[in-house]
Symmetry: C2
Subunit: 239 residues, 2 copies
Amino acid sequence: MKEALEGVKALAFDVFGTVVDYRTTIITEGERLAEDKGIEIDWAAFADAWRGRYRPAMDRVMRGELPWTNLDALHRTTLDELLAEFGVRELSEGEKNHLNGVWHRLRPWGDSVPGLLRLKTRFVLATLSNGNVRLLVDMAKNAGLPWDLVFSAELARAYKPDPRAYRMLQELLMLGPDEIMMVAAHQSDLRAAQELGFRTAFVMRPLEHGPQAVPNLRADPSLDVVATDFVDLARQLRV
Amino acid sequence: MKEALEGVKALAFDVFGTVVDYRTTIITEGERLAEDKGIEIDWAAFADAWRGRYRPAMDRVMRGELPWTNLDALHRTTLDELLAEFGVRELSEGEKNHLNGVWHRLRPWGDSVPGLLRLKTRFVLATLSNGNVRLLVDMAKNAGLPWDLVFSAELARAYKPDPRAYRMLQELLMLGPDEIMMVAAHQSDLRAAQELGFRTAFVMRPLEHGPQAVPNLRADPSLDVVATDFVDLARQLRV
């Protein structure tokens, strides 16, 4: 382990894609729903399209075209658009709300819970996610994610990669930026953290976009740690 | 259980005095420190005096006489005052900082962890404390308090009983006020929650102020639940 990492006291985790597998969960729940309702729909395409509208929706908020809107509400707007585009007219309001809640029920990658439990013995584990607080609390309770602190962009009213989200977490933890390591499967998250002086760990999630996707797993050499999963991260951090 | 309580989904806990026994922890750590340093001091009186300056310090912030100041910093100011008043001149800056950190290391009442673990199977468990986030995170990690959400007055920049702290928690949880039950050993906390429509549970902590104190344990009849401890609370809430 590099000497510079010995001062790390807290790990800040990106969540969607890094800790949980949104794509498989949406496909699984979607297929069950479609069977119940007797409809046919390509849930892999639906999951990818839903996730694809995530960044543009947050960008509308950050450009001031929308007032502050939490992720549950952004997801509901994009869900309604996609249901129309995919020609799904069979869902009641209750069923749409339940489907929108799938983000609260996302399943963790297999190494997430064992890796986090091990990391928790040495570090403060915080989420640093664009998911709203309620979503993250429900997800943690459902999946057994042992966070010490559920922190959300909602508290800063600024979506990542806006620096205000990272800085607010740093202030609450009363740590220097080099005492916090951002953990993410996305290099954009890590770059924003790095610019503020955080340490960085890139965790590869080659299946985030499905078995057919060709993800960019070429790690920027300036990143502090590159790990294959959370258990490997714990090993590299000598936990 | 009253029918009105069946809709409760989250419990919001006062922490100092309700979950943890600050008085005994301060006395125990203080006595150890005094022995190391060869000084004599009445730590029971010191603990009571330190806690006694808590409300006036927060009131100065809420009246605008001080800019927003977190509880760690308020505790440090009042600690310095008390060390001078008790005639303690033997402590280094590092020792004073360590002593101030005792609030991060407070020990839970014996029923707190087992009661919370049982309540966690049915309810979202959140702190609603004037302690700052870092203090609450350290305390939870140290004492094994299984919070789903660490929420602090620091996030609202308003100390309880200011309604902004309670309302912000309610908004983050996306619940109606009658879906949240405030749990506290102090009726002032419960009154403020009740005025906003929260449900209320009064948990008696007869030893909070020490074995000689005569606490007011006469529960206001408008409170929803009166419990002897957290295990009794779980039983009354049918967990």
